[in-house]
Symmetry: C2
Subunit: 535 residues, 2 copies
């Protein structure tokens, strides 16, 4: 048992997320006036309030496992209250929100357990094995693929393993430029601790304000500045994992040839192989200068070609994002101006951001500007860039406002090699549009590599009578289209339970078999996030 | 069965390696005069000829498996001749050479089987499972860690699966900048095929002239230009693998979040999980300009600090290598001048190479020169760089010349984080020097990362009465020192059988358990390279 520690409040006063909405209630906003008009025209406004304070099922945890859990982490860290369990029910996909809004919190855990250390986690897992409890590791709760909705049938209870007390910066090695972080640190908390030493991770997914270090690692997260700072999995050099079979520590060196890189087996394991209790990451110096600017391209294909050119010439800026014609037309890259006046008719907006020392930014910006100009891009100045940067974490709040007025909104993403990007784009768009008549299907390239890119789709449609079923059918068709195109079922949202039916098509029956073999080896009684990831 | 194809000769006329020496007999040279004096002074000259044409054990393969193998690949591709089997016995570590020189070829395979396609490989594996044959995939035969010396006890025979017929460039995607290569292509063959299209891999390990694409992938190889072009595992985006349980294809996208990256489980699997039958790699444009130059540093530590600065500032050149004081003193970085006049007394030689377009090289060279000058480096011009580039693949030939005169020579390598480099260096050096009195222990940094670097040691000593036992004891002490320092047992030479006893210390008992679980899943009867890699 460890000493109680009160979790530090999030910078900016962001606390727990609302159980039926994204983000902190204090940060929620109404639909901006500019967007309201667009929405009314496209779908009509149909006030669709959520059920207030939906009930959670009574905790089914028996006395014996409860006593055992209390014994290992202390009574105050085993929470059975409805209010707490409500906050640990599922994640933040639109299906999750639709269920919660309709009053369905059937997946609520029987208890929320808050370990304070690696040893606490190990002890909780031992209790879980002994009493056959399903354990769902919980970091920021931002999952959008059903990774927090573990199977509970056949288990004596379902425990949310809330890592909220594990928020220490355990070590910093300024010579090697690495830092070791506990998994419960949310994005802003980790950056604040590193920032005190002039360091940063540079990992800014849209979920940044709430998502956690453990979650970033467990889901192979990728952020909006991945062009410059890399995917989260590329930042990780070491891991400490608690498994039902004991402690597992990996990370002898930046890279090596000592057999397969087993770190890459833990990264993306979504709590199914073990609970990540510490992550050692490569860090960078805080940038002195940040400049974000807009560029305009005549078509999505031309803009993508320009991105490809940058990636293949070693000229990547820190941030690189390209909206297609539809997304550009409604200003989605600038949430404060959605539906507002756009000067980009028929064109595509690219956001280009440079961060670093003044000299680095000046030099890189000159090279990138030269390259983009030569390729036919038209500079739009810093206005669109600043606007994007200002609203970069706000889109999920907008979704709630839209759900409130009867609009169904969701995102999905994939990635492929450059030569397949157009076919993938067309295939997914067609699948969504044919399943959601009248829908807006928007897309942007969110991440680029030398050999390919991701495509991130945003879909808006009328909710209709059965929004959940309607969306699930459309999403299923989109997944089929992704598989048919030979692309990945998820570039950065992970597998969870939602993508699992399509995973074997991507990694093969042998890949699925290997995941089962690893799972059986590390978690022989199957207590870790059952039903998640492993086909 | 596939049509016979005669393997194309290697560019430069390099063919099969000599069974007791590195490289092509035509390329072998006597010890350079300059080195001869140094060696005579340090160790004396003791002519130590190898046993001529050592005998290989008679093939123990039974009639039934032989017939089955002939049936699937054709009689002409199942070779039992002593001459052929001699060439497929073990790899090219100094222990391998010492054994072969002393007449011991006990590990010779019972047959050399040459599949022509993925389907052939799959069919051979089916025969192996049916008849319980051990199968050792063979690419270039350059392994230095016992990866070609599989266990044969309990098997009905040992087959060398020679991939020499699988040398096709299967596909090139110039938009995505990827190429799909068959595993039997040796380094120069792959580069020649890509070069016809103005493309390259940029993977130049010291074994480049003989090592194969399949081997690069199976061992997580890293080349001399890794600072610019990356490790081989970082180049791979797709894999096709034949396993006893069927075909396994991976590589939906450059990167994704669809669970663990299973490509990283195949990379480094050393033939123990499956046979890699195709590798899709990221390629680059052939450089227009190549410039290699020398820099001098007052100490190994100062030179390492400069490397670290470059890596952490995003200023890496294409080639970056730093010799310690001892290695610099005997000119090891310049094999044509070893033991010759050195102007570098008490100093350390760094090789810095720039490749790319003229503009890229000019710009990068200016930045790197500025940074190195500011850090106290003294430019030595292109002489030392050209000399290094000229001899970059020659050191293994020198080893043979030294073995001929009674000198024991071997290399070993490791990697760690920057803050641990000095302790690792001192620990390994001390272990080697205390086990090999009078030995020369030389070291260079061969690969750098933002968070750390590799250390590559070269050891020369008198052979004495029992050179094999003497070396194995010293190597064991060095491995213990590496483990004690928390570093990796191998940065780019792989595990094989030689490093296996130390692997669990690095990846943990759970890591070893996971490797066994994956092996059992993919290769349930254990026919693939038994005894290699998996603890």
């Amino acid at each position: 048992m460890t000493t109680d520690t009160t979790p530090a409040p999030l910078p900016g006063g962001l606390g727990e997320m609302h159980p039926q909405r994204w983000g902190a209630p204090t940060a929620a906003t109404d639909l901006p006036e500019s967007a309201r008009g667009l929405v009314e025209m496209a779908f009509g406004l149909h006030p669709t309030p959520a059920v207030e304070t939906p009930a959670v099922p009574a905790s089914a945890l028996g006395e014996a496992p409860l006593a055992a859990l209390r014994d290992v982490v202390g009574e105050q860290h085993v929470l059975l209250d409805d209010d707490v369990r409500r906050l640990r029910t599922r994640g933040k996909s639109t299906p999750d929100l639709l269920r919660a809004r309709s009053g369905d919190l059937a997946d609520a855990p029987d208890a929320v357990v808050r370990p304070g250390s690696h040893d606490d986690v190990a002890a909780v897992l031992a209790v879980a094995v002994e009493h056959h409890l399903a354990v769902v590791p919980f970091g920021g709760g931002t999952c959008v693929t059903g990774g927090l909705a573990a199977r509970r049938d056949g288990y004596a209870g379902l425990v949310s393993l809330d890592l909220v007390r594990m928020k220490q910066l355990l070590a910093v090695d300024e010579e090697s430029m690495t830092a070791t972080l506990e998994p419960g640190l949310r994005g802003p908390e980790a950056e604040a601790l590193l920032g005190e030493r002039g360091l940063m991770l540079g990992h800014f997914p849209q979920s940044f304000q709430f998502a956690s270090i453990g979650g970033f690692a467990a889901t192979r997260s990728s952020g909006q500045s991945s062009a410059g700072y890399g995917r989260f999995d590329a930042m990780v050099v070491g891991l400490r994992v608690a498994t039902p079979r004991g402690e597992w520590v990996l990370g002898s060196s930046p890279a090596n040839a000592a057999g397969p890189d087993l770190r890459q087996l833990v990264l993306g394991s979504e709590g199914a192989f073990g609970v990540i209790t510490a992550v050692t990451v490569r860090v960078r110096r805080l940038p002195e200068v940040k400049v974000y600017e807009g560029w305009r391209w005549d078509s999505f294909a031309e803009g993508r070609d320009a991105m490809r050119h940058l990636a293949q010439s070693g000229l990547l800026p820190t941030v690189l994002r390209l909206s297609d014609e539809s997304e550009t037309a409604i200003n989605l890259a600038r949430p404060d101006a959605i539906g507002g006046e756009s000067e980009s008719e028929g064109a595509c907006l690219m956001i280009v951001g440079h961060e670093g020392t003044a000299a680095q930014v000046a030099s890189r910006r000159t090279s990138v500007t030269e390259a983009l100009t030569a390729l036919g891009g038209r500079p739009q100045g810093e206005g669109p860039g600043e606007s994007w940067a200002h609203g970069r974490f706000d889109a999920p709040y907008l979704r709630d406002s839209l759900l409130d007025v009867g609009v169904l909104v969701e995102t999905l993403e994939t990635a492929t090699f450059w030569s397949n990007a157009e076919a993938l784009y067309a295939g997914v768009k067609q699948a969504l549009e044919s399943h959601l008549p009248g829908a807006l299907v928007l897309c942007h390239v969110s991440h680029v590599y030398e050999t390919g890119c991701s495509l991130y789709f945003t879909v808006a449609s009328s909710q209709g009578e059965q929004p959940l079923e309607t969306w699930l059918a459309a999403k299923s068709a989109a997944n089929d289209a992704i598989v048919a195109a030979g692309a990945t079922i998820t570039h950065h949202h992970a597998v969870g339970t939602d993508h699992k039916p399509w995973l074997s098509a991507e990694i093969g029956d042998l890949g699925a078999s290997v995941l089962r073999a690893v799972k059986a080896d590390l978690d022989p009684t199957g207590v870790l996030n059952p039903g998640v990831l492993v086909p």
